[in-house]
């Protein structure tokens, strides 16, 4: 090589490789993060199940219709929600979460019924109305 010729760039030099690889690596991390988020969301959706409460036995209550309960994972546990009444609780297993919700629905119903109507704010009054449409004491 003559001293007048410009130095030829080595395409495999450390600097060149780094310049080409680093953006690709950054893009890959972005894609990987998106895949992780999609996977987590998918897991949440797959694990979300609808289980009806069909009886309140042996409690002295009858159901006018089944209570739809949505079970969603949260960490190592499960949240059970009766969305119409906006009442939720949790449990270590899906079964425990539903069992806990069954008892909380009755606790809430009994508490709200024990209060004078004028002592309930808009949301508790609405919750009591929803609960009355689903269950009654026998």
């Amino acid at each position: 090589m003559s001293i007048l010729e410009p130095p030829r760039m080595n395409p495999f030099s450390e600097g060149n490789v780094a310049r080409r690889v680093l953006p690709v690596r950054n893009d890959s991390e972005v894609v990987l993060n998106e895949i992780r988020e999609i996977k987590a969301e998918l897991n949440r959706r797959v694990q979300t199940v609808l289980i009806p409460i069909t009886t309140l036995a042996p409690e002295p209550y009858a159901l006018a219709r089944d209570i739809p309960v949505v079970i969603q994972p949260t960490g190592d546990e499960f949240i059970a929600t009766f969305f119409d009444a906006n009442i939720s609780t949790a449990g270590e297993t899906q079964e425990e979460a539903v069992g806990n919700l069954r008892s909380l629905l009755l606790d809430t119903f009994e508490y709200l019924e024990s209060e004078p109507a004028e002592a309930l704010g808009p949301e508790p009054a609405r919750q009591l109305g929803v609960l009355r449409a689903f269950l009654k004491r026998v």
């Binding site: 949240i79 609780t89 606790d107 704010g121 949301e123």
Partner: protein
Amino acid sequence: MLTKDHAEAIARKLKAVIISGRKHDLAAVKYNGKTIAQFGIRRGSRRDQAHDYIPGQIHVTRQQATLLAQCPMSFEEWITVMRQKGHIAT
């Protein structure tokens, strides 16, 4: 994750009346003599029991519930949020 400690701290912060239930202690939050929200606190000795459902029961975000439990959000600030959301008549 909101734990049982958080749930109890929120109940204290909101001056909730605690009613003993079947498997929960029911925390009833009252303002001017009216119940405006209630939530269940699970029984059991495990302090790390999940109570992630509480924000929805007291009409705040998870972040606001954490602020209530950890102190930065006061009872009065929560009442302001409830007024804004129509859970307390203005």
